[in-house]
């Protein structure tokens, strides 16, 4: 009986360990994350031109920022500001949502940092990204 109990305990521990191993993979496939992703995907069609013109750049904290208002025609300035604000809102929500989906809200800062590096790393040639020395253009 005691032996059986021990075996059972071992089994439980194994299952628990398996779950935790699964958690070492970051869960990003939740309805909320997918919704944010879709929203950002759609917005990217409008933002891409501003990245290319240098009007909007990528910051080191995983956000986007209006870099050069002069590169935007006066008539479009308001809409660019709105785009940037909406994009940042989505990004903030994305980082928070991934952290929550993995039951580790405290990971949000690290997730944001990871994204920040990857956004900048993967930015297209000609886009502007923030560095420790200020804005630089990706080549």
């Amino acid at each position: 009986m005691k032996n059986l109990f021990k075996k059972l305990l071992a089994l439980v521990a194994l299952v628990a360990a398996f779950n935790v191993f699964a958690a070492a993979n970051l869960e990003v496939n939740t309805p909320a994350v997918n919704a944010i992703k879709t929203s950002m995907q759609q917005r990217h069609g409008q933002l891409a031109g501003y990245y290319a013109s240098g009007a909007v750049g990528l910051t080191m904290d995983g956000m986007v920022a209006l870099r050069d208002p002069g590169a935007v025609p006066l008539a479009a300035r308001q809409s660019v500001n709105a785009l940037v604000a909406a994009e940042n809102q989505d990004r903030e929500a994305l980082y928070a949502e991934i952290a929550n989906a993995n039951a580790h809200p405290e990971w949000q800062a690290e997730i944001r940092n990871t994204f920040a590096q990857r956004w900048i790393q993967r930015a297209q040639r000609g886009w502007w990204v923030m560095s420790n020395n200020g804005w630089v253009q990706k080549y």
Binding site: N3, A10, A16, A24, L26, W107, T114, Q117, R122, A123
Partner: protein, 70 residues
């Protein structure tokens, strides 16, 4: 044999704690890349484009799937 059954849960549980506390940086990077790829709809914006895609065999298999549409 009995000892193994006693030690196993302890080992496994201690492993749990270690894994659970730390942020899975590698997994996060992979997840970020996948999401960025989908949002920007790019494949390798970060890779130099000087090499034509004629060497599919030299990529290690552990890379996430890179679909070459178009």
């Amino acid at each position: 044999m009995k000892k193994i059954w006693m030690a196993l849960p302890l080992i496994v549980l201690s492993a749990c704690v270690t894994i659970n506390i730390y942020f899975p940086a590698a997994a996060a990077e992979k997840a970020a890349d996948k999401i960025i790829e989908e949002v920007w709809q790019t494949q390798h914006a970060d890779k130099p484009a000087d090499k034509p895609a004629d060497k599919p065999a030299d990529k290690p298999a552990d890379k996430p799937e890179v679909k070459e549409t178009k």
